[in-house]
């Protein structure tokens, strides 16, 4: 207990123990001073890495899901096999998937991202496809009747109208992935999972656990909020109702 951090595997300030206050030594619930001292060397880098891990996973997952959904929208028979495969990926326990990937891919960013991306596919694929299919038949009929090509119908009518469902999917995906990315440290020691793991290994060291966990939660809420805001800006028609 006297030197909780020096025993950790994560980034450590060599003279940390010397600076420890009684709050840290007693492992009280939350030591603000520790956070101040470790924001620069520990928390901020971990937060940045976490953002990159999560955003990359959702972005890649979104690209793959969009392609799959567009294909399934055009060729209906693709929906079933795609749903089955993405559901299986989704049901694999997170830790197990990381372990499975570690052997063939290695302990690196690729293992981390492959796992994270695979968890976004089901959510995003289903939401995008549902959005595309929610476009009313008469709207599609009008699009065809006014001489729009398939691509024009997709870009000008179907995708804009699918936007609320797509954003709903993105919200679930980003929150899920931000949470899930805290166990990425198993194969790739980056992100908020690293300080959380360190803290857990030390008693747990409550301050670090709360700080890192709180950052993950805050990040998820922030991402969700930004998406809600983005949707409001992108879908002005959704709020327009007869006045």
């Amino acid at each position: 207990m006297s030197a909780p951090v020096t025993a950790a595997a994560g980034p450590v300030i060599p003279d940390y123990a010397a600076q420890s206050s009684s709050c840290e030594i007693d492992n009280r619930l939350f030591c603000w001073r520790w956070v101040q001292h470790n924001w620069g060397p520990v928390l901020w880098p971990a937060l940045r890495e976490h953002v990159v891990l999560a955003l990359a996973a959702v972005a890649i997952g979104f690209a793959i899901s969009m392609a799959l959904a567009l294909a399934a929208h055009r060729y209906g028979w693709l929906e079933r096999p795609t749903t089955i495969v993405t559901t299986i990926l989704y049901t694999i326990p997170g830790l197990a998937l990381f372990e499975l990937l570690a052997a063939p891919v290695g302990l690196n960013v690729f293992s981390a991202e492959i796992a994270l991306v695979s968890y976004t596919l089901l959510i995003l694929f289903r939401n995008i496809l549902a959005g595309l299919r929610s476009v009313p038949a008469e709207v599609l009929d009008a699009a065809e009747g006014t001489g729009m090509s398939r691509t024009q119908t997709l870009l000008r009518v179907e995708l804009p109208l699918a936007l609320p469902a797509i954003v709903a999917g993105l919200r679930i995906a980003i929150v899920t992935i931000i949470a899930l990315a805290t166990i990425v440290y198993v194969v790739y020691d980056r992100g908020l999972g690293v300080p959380i793991h360190t803290a857990l290994g030390e008693g747990p060291f409550k301050t670090e656990l709360i700080a890192a966990g709180g950052l993950a939660i805050g990040l998820a809420l922030l991402a969700d909020g930004l998406l809600v805001l983005g949707q409001r800006l992108l879908t002005p028609w959704a709020r327009a109702r007869a006045s």
Binding site: P136, E138, V139, G145, G147, S149, P160, L161
Partner: protein
């Protein structure tokens, strides 16, 4: 139902040319020959003396050429409508033994409203959708302005054919203005021209441009949405409009109003129109000609409303138009078209203030005989005073007069 059901029908016969507004050339810049557009660019830049004359001479030729083609076809501010001809058109869906449309032949003269009417299963909507190739034709040919639609790119064809459906199908994520601009945008009109066109159309359909342009469809009433749907179909000034039960989802009172409004609009824009309905009364009101289809997509009769009502081709048509077809016929005639009864020997009295008509119910000369008959029955047979727009009494209407009209028509059969 009060006003002039027959009013729109005079349109085709009186032979007035198309009404044109907006762009004096009547042709969108996007359709100018490339040389002309390049020329214009240069002209805008030209500043040195003499450049104007050098450019103008060949430019004038091109402008005249463009103006000529605008008359024959192509999007312009209410360009000429085109004749539509269906030649032995058949449609058989794969896997079905009976065709949906069987050897349908009919010609719709330019600028006329042809109503396709029939019971469900008669293929009227199918027939309409064959025209803009939203359903592929199995056999036969369709000519629009003398050109086979089969030779056209389907999307280019559809941009030239206005399309209105019962559910309207406005794009909910686009404003009224954007909805109306759909086809002009697909055609690549310049922005300024699109804006002007949208405002012109909003005015035409009686909506306040400043207020409505930026609204979303969800903020409109059913009738307003319907009007916007019609404006969207008219936007690129198509020579032909297809309308599938356009007023089917509107309540009866507003439907009558929209019908009247549409007939007024049609007198202005003079489109060739194919109008689908299952309602024979609407067909009689809207159609210059009516094509009655029976089950299996067979044409039972193609004629003017008056002919169909007076001389139904067979039992099916007679039954479809209804036992009250003499009454429906009365709806086709307005009081102004009748030889009204002169007030007996008191002509001066009538003109001088007509004390005798004081107690009489007055009806406008634009009223249909059918509506006047209803009023007459309510008055227990007392004569009605028919007045013109200024309230001057033109003559009297009695039950005997209507009887005489019916028997005269019957004798003509």
């Amino acid at each position: 139902m009060g006003t002039v059901p027959g009013a729109g029908r005079a349109s085709a016969e009186d032979g007035r040319g198309p009404t044109r507004t907006g762009d004096p050339l009547g042709v969108s810049e996007a359709l100018w020959p490339a040389e002309l557009r390049a020329l214009r660019e240069r002209r805008l830049k030209a500043s040195e003396p003499g450049a104007w004359a050098r450019i103008w001479a060949p430019g004038r030729e091109l402008l005249l050429k463009a103006a000529d083609t605008a008359h024959s076809e192509g999007p312009s501010a209410f360009a000429q409508a085109a004749e539509l001809e269906l030649r032995e058109v058949s449609k058989r869906y794969p896997g079905q033994r009976e065709p949906a449309i069987r050897g349908l032949s009919l010609t719709v003269p330019a600028g006329e409203v042809c109503v396709l009417v029939g019971p469900s299963g008669s293929g009227k909507t199918t027939a309409m959708r064959l025209i803009n190739r939203m359903i592929p034709i199995s056999a036969g040919d369709i000519l629009l302005g003398g050109r086979s639609v089969l030779a056209r790119d389907p999307r280019a064809l559809r941009r030239e054919i206005g399309y209105v459906i019962q559910q309207i199908g406005l794009f909910p994520h686009q404003t009224v203005g954007e909805n109306i601009a759909t086809v002009p945008r697909l055609l690549g009109w310049p922005k300024r021209r699109i804006r002007a066109r949208v405002h012109e159309l909003l005015e035409l359909i009686g909506l306040d441009a400043g207020e409505m342009d930026g609204r979303y469809p969800a903020q409109l009433s059913g009738g307003q949405r319907q009007r916007v749907g019609v404006a969207r179909a008219l936007a690129a000034d198509p020579p032909l409009m297809l309308m599938d039960e356009p007023f089917g989802a509107i309540d009866p009172i507003n439907r009558a109003r929209l019908q009247d409004e549409f007939l007024r609009l049609q007198r202005q824009v003079r489109k060739t129109i194919v109008f689908v309905t299952h309602d024979i009364d609407e067909a009689i009101k809207m159609g210059d000609r009516i094509a009655i289809l029976r089950e299996g997509g067979v044409l039972a009769q193609y004629d003017t409303p008056r002919e169909i009502l007076m001389r139904p081709a067979d039992g099916f048509v007679a039954q479809f138009v209804g036992a009250d077809r003499s009454l429906k016929r009365l709806a086709l005639t307005t009081l102004g078209e009748l030889q009204l009864i002169e007030p007996n020997g008191h002509a001066e009295d009538w003109l001088a203030g007509a004390p005798h008509t004081d107690g009489m119910v007055r009806v406008g000369r634009e009223t249909s005989v059918r509506d006047a008959l209803a009023t007459l029955l309510g008055e227990e047979g007392r004569p009605l005073a028919v007045v013109d727009g200024d309230g001057h009494v033109e003559g009297l209407l009695t039950l005997e007069l209507i009887e005489r009209l019916l028997s005269a028509e019957a004798a003509a059969v």
